[in-house]
C-alpha cells in the first residue's frame, strides 16, 4: 500500500520531464509511451531534419546566385532539390504540427491523460525514425541520392540509376507512421474527451487536428500503394505505369496527387488550428465564429480531397475534367477564406498583445493569404498554363507551406514552449528574430513570383541573364532567413539550459485546459480529470469591458 502511495506521489508531484517510470535515463524516453515525451522525441527529430532541409535549400539558393555553375554541378543540384523536397515534405511539414504539438497537447486540450493507443503512438515515432534513416541511407548508399524530385514522376523514376528505392520506401514507411497517428487521434477525440466536453466545446486546434487525422487516414494509403508500386515496377520490371510496358504515366500522376493534394491540408490545417488557438489569447477576445472555423476545417478536408488534378492541367486531361477541377479548386478557397475572415474579425477591437507567438500568427495570416490567393490564380486554367512548372509555383507553395505551416509551427513553439519545458526564452530576442525571419522570408520568396510569371522554369540549374536580378535578391533573402532560423533555435536551446524558470500555470492568460495544469505538466497531466462546463475562449471580463465601452 505504501508502495502505491509513493508511486502516485511521484506521478503527481514531479513533472513529466523528471518522472521516473519503468525505465530510466535515455530509455525512459525512447521507450516511454507518455504522449508528451513522444511529442518531444518528434520535436527533436523534426528539428534536426528541418535544419538539414534548410541547409540544402540554402545551397540551392547559393547555386542560383549566378547563371551557370556557381558551386555545384547540375546532377548534384538535381539530387539536392530532391532531398530538400523529400525531407521537407515527408519528414518535416507532413508530420509537423500533429506529431509534435498534437501529441503533446491534444490529450491535454480534451482533458485526457494520454492518447487512446499510447503504444501505437510510440510505434509511430519508431516508424518515423526508420523512414528518416532510410532517407539518409538513400543519400549515402552508392548510386547517388535520388534525382527525381520529391514527386517521383514516372517514367524517369523507373529509369534513373540513383537510389530511388530507399527513398520510396522511406516515404512509404513515413506514410504508415502518419496513418497510425491519424487512427490514434480520431479515436482519442471520439473516446477520451473529459466529461462535459462536447464537440462544440472542443478547442479549435482539436477540431483541426481531428480533420487532419481523417485526411491522414483516408489519403495516405493511396500514396503508400502508389510508391510501393513504383518500387515493385523498378525491382521486378512489372508493367504498371511505365509506358514502355503499356502503362500510363498520367495515371501515376493522378494517384500521386490524390494523396499529395490532400496532404497539403494535412500540412496547413493543424497550423490553422494553432492560429485559432493563439489569436483569442493575445487579442483577449472570444474567437469570432467558432462554429464556422470548426466546420470549415471539415469542409476543407472534404473539398480538399476532390481537387487533385489541378496539378495536372498541362499533363493531358479532358476539357470537362479541367473545368470541374478548376471549379472545385476555387471552391476550396472558400472555407479557407472563412477562417481568415473570422481571425481578422476576432482581432477587430481586441486589445492585441504583440508577443512572439502573436507576431508569428499575424505573419501566418499575411503569408498564407498571399499563398492561398496565388493558389486560386493557379486554379484558373488559362493562368496555370503560363505559370505551371515555373518558380511561381515554388513561391506559391513556400508561401503556404513555409510562410503558413512553418510560421504556424514557430508560433506554436513560442506559445507552448514555456508550458512544455517550464522555461522562458528571451522574448526581446524572439521578437527581433521574428522580424528578421519575416523580412528574410519575403525577400527570399517574393521575387520567385515575379520571375516565375516572367517564365523562369522550376527545378532549373541554369537561367538566362535577365532573371539574375531576381535570383540575387532571393539569395540575399536566404542569407537573412537562415541565420534568423538558427538564432531562433539558439534562443530556445539557451532557454532550456539557462532560461528563466516558469512555474506559473498560465503564462499568456489562455483559457484552454493546458493552462490550468502544472507547468511543466505532471506525468498524467491531470491529477483529477476536469469537468468541462464552458466553451473555450470566454474572456468574459474583457467582453464586459468592451460592451460597456460600446454602450457609451
Amino acid at each position: 500500500m505504501s508502495n502505491e502511495n509513493t508511486l502516485s506521489n511521484n506521478e503527481n508531484d514531479v513533472s513529466y520531464l523528471e518522472y521516473k517510470g519503468k525505465h530510466s535515463g535515455i530509455l525512459g524516453w525512447l521507450l516511454s509511451t507518455d504522449h508528451k515525451r513522444i511529442g518531444l522525441l518528434y520535436l527533436i527529430s523534426l528539428s534536426v531534419f528541418l535544419i538539414v532541409g534548410v541547409t540544402f535549400g540554402f545551397l540551392m539558393r547559393l547555386e542560383l546566385l549566378t547563371p551557370g555553375r556557381t558551386i555545384m554541378d547540375p546532377q548534384t543540384y538535381n539530387s539536392i532539390f530532391t532531398l530538400h523536397g523529400v525531407i521537407m515534405i515527408f519528414l518535416f511539414v507532413v508530420p509537423g504540427l500533429p506529431a509534435v504539438f498534437g501529441n503533446f497537447f491534444l490529450p491535454i486540450l480534451i482533458g485526457a491523460r494520454d492518447v487512446a493507443f499510447p503504444r501505437l503512438n510510440l510505434l509511430s515515432w519508431y516508424l518515423y525514425a526508420v523512414g528518416g534513416l532510410l532517407a539518409i541511407l538513400s543519400i549515402l548508399l552508392p548510386g547517388g541520392p535520388a534525382d527525381t524530385g520529391w514527386t517521383f514522376y514516372i517514367p524517369y523514376s523507373v529509369r534513373t540509376n540513383t537510389n530511388v528505392i530507399p527513398a520510396l520506401f522511406a516515404a512509404f514507411i513515413l506514410g504508415f507512421s502518419s496513418i497510425l497517428t491519424g487512427v490514434n487521434f480520431v479515436t482519442t477525440v471520439h473516446r477520451m474527451r473529459a466529461p462535459g466536453m462536447d464537440w462544440f466545446k472542443m478547442p479549435l486546434s482539436v477540431w483541426s487536428l481531428y480533420a487532419t487525422a481523417w485526411v491522414q487516414i483516408l489519403a495516405t494509403p493511396i500514396i503508400g500503394i502508389t510508391l510501393l508500386l513504383v518500387a515493385v515496377e523498378r525491382i521486378f520490371g512489372v508493367g504498371l505505369f511505365d509506358p514502355a510496358l503499356g502503362g500510363d504515366p498520367v495515371l501515376y500522376q493522378h494517384l500521386f496527387w490524390i494523396y499529395s493534394h490532400p496532404a497539403v491540408y494535412i500540412m496547413i490545417l493543424p497550423a490553422m488550428g494553432v492560429v485559432s488557438e493563439i489569436i483569442p489569447v493575445f487579442a483577449h477576445r472570444t474567437i469570432f465564429g467558432y462554429r464556422f472555423i470548426a466546420m470549415s476545417s471539415i469542409a476543407i478536408a472534404l473539398f480538399g480531397s476532390l481537387v487533385w488534378a489541378h496539378h495536372m492541367f498541362t499533363a493531358g486531361m479532358s476539357d470537362t475534367g479541367q473545368l470541374i477541377f478548376s471549379l472545385l479548386t476555387m471552391i476550396v478557397a472558400i472555407p479557407s477564406a472563412i477562417k481568415v475572415f473570422n481571425w481578422v474579425a476576432t482581432l477587430y477591437k481586441g486589445s492585441i498583445d504583440l508577443q512572439p507567438p502573436m507576431l508569428y500568427v499575424l505573419a501566418f495570416i499575411f503569408q498564407f493569404s498571399i499563398g492561398g490567393l496565388t493558389g486560386v490564380m493557379q486554379g484558373v486554367l488559362s493562368v496555370d498554363i503560363q505559370v505551371h512548372d515555373t518558380s511561381f509555383i515554388v513561391a506559391h507553395f513556400h508561401y503556404v507551406m513555409f510562410g503558413g505551416t512553418g510560421f504556424g509551427f514557430f508560433a506554436a513553439l513560442h506559445y507552448w514552449f514555456p508550458k512544455m519545458f517550464g522555461k522562458m526564452y528571451n522574448i526581446k530576442l524572439a521578437k527581433r528574430v521574428f522580424w528578421a525571419m519575416f523580412v528574410g522570408f519575403n525577400t527570399l520568396y517574393f521575387p520567385m513570383f515575379i520571375m516565375g510569371w516572367l517564365g523562369m522554369p522550376r527545378r532549373y540549374y541554369d537561367y538566362l541573364p535577365e532573371y539574375q536580378i531576381y535570383h540575387v535578391i532571393s539569395t540575399i533573402g536566404s542569407w537573412i532567413l537562415v541565420p534568423a532560423l538558427f538564432l531562433m533555435f539558439g534562443n530556445f536551446i539557451y532557454a532550456l539550459f539557462k532560461g528563466a524558470k516558469v512555474t506559473e500555470k498560465n503564462v499568456w492568460g489562455g483559457e484552454t485546459l493546458e493552462w490550468q495544469i502544472a507547468t511543466p505538466p505532471v506525468h498524467e497531466n491531470f491529477i483529477d480529470i476536469p469537468i468541462v462546463t464552458e466553451s473555450p475562449y470566454q474572456y468574459k471580463d474583457n467582453e464586459l469591458v468592451l460592451q460597456t465601452q460600446e454602450a457609451k
Binding site: I217, G237, L240, L245, I529
Partner: protein
C-alpha cells in the same frame, strides 16, 4: 464527478476505442487495395480485349478452391471468437489452429498456381510476357502485384492469429477480454473480403 485515483488509470481499458481503431485501420487497408483497383479498372477500360484474353489463362478451378478455403477460414475464425465468449478455451484454440491451417492451404495453392505461370514463362520481365500485347502485360503485372500483396496479407494474418493462439493459451485472451481476438478476426475477414473481389475480377469476368 471528481476523480477516482490514479492507480486505476493505469489499467485504462476501452474496448470500444480498440474496435474503432481497428475499423479505421481496416479502412486504410481497403484504400491501399483501392488504389490498385483503380489501376485495374482504368487498364481494363483501355485494354478490354487484352484483358479478356489474359484472364482466360488463369486457372478458375484453383481460384474457386481457394475462395472456398478462405471463406471457410473466416467461419472458423468467427467460431473461435464465439467459443471464447462461451468460455470454451480449448475449442477456441482449435478453431484458431484450423484457421491457420486453412491459410497455409491457401498459400500452397497459390504457390502451385504462380509456379505454373512461371513454368509457362509468364512472369514479370519474361520474354514471353513482354512479347504479348501491352494490355496483357498490364493484366499480369496487376495479377502478380495484387494477389502477391494479398498473399502477404494472408501471411501477416497467420502471424497475428498465431499470436492470438498464444494469448489464448496464456489467458491473456479470456471470455471477458477478447477484443484482441476480435480485432484479429476483423483483419482476417478483411483479407477474405479483398479476395472476394480479386477472384471475380481476375478469374471470372473474362
Amino acid at each position: 464527478m471528481s476523480i477516482q485515483h490514479t492507480a486505476a488509470a493505469h489499467i485504462h481499458r476501452d474496448d470500444v476505442a480498440s474496435r474503432m481503431g481497428m475499423w479505421l485501420f481496416l479502412f486504410t487497408e481497403l484504400l491501399l487495395f483501392g488504389g490498385m483497383f483503380i489501376l485495374y479498372s482504368v487498364y481494363r477500360f483501355t485494354h478490354p480485349q487484352d484483358f479478356h484474353l489474359a484472364a482466360k489463362e488463369l486457372n478458375t478451378v484453383i481460384g474457386t478452391f481457394n475462395t472456398a478455403i478462405l471463406l471457410t477460414s473466416s467461419l472458423t475464425m468467427a467460431l473461435s471468437i464465439a467459443a471464447i465468449q462461451r468460455r470454451q478455451k480449448t475449442l477456441s484454440i482449435i478453431f484458431q489452429l484450423i484457421t491457420i491451417l486453412l491459410a497455409f492451404g491457401f498459400m500452397v495453392n497459390k504457390y502451385f498456381e504462380w509456379g505454373a505461370k512461371f513454368h509457362h514463362g509468364i512472369y514479370p520481365g519474361s520474354d514471353t510476357l513482354l512479347s504479348k500485347p501491352s494490355g496483357e502485360i498490364l493484366f499480369f503485372g496487376l495479377y502478380y502485384v495484387m494477389t502477391g500483396l494479398h498473399g502477404l496479407h494472408v501471411i501477416i494474418g497467420v502471424v497475428i492469429i498465431a499470436f492470438m493462439t498464444v494469448f489464448t493459451l496464456r489467458d491473456v485472451i479470456t471470455h471477458d477480454n477478447y477484443v484482441k481476438l476480435e480485432a484479429a478476426g476483423l483483419y482476417w475477414h478483411l483479407v477474405d473480403i479483398i479476395w472476394i473481389f480479386l477472384f471475380p475480377l481476375f478469374y471470372l469476368i473474362t
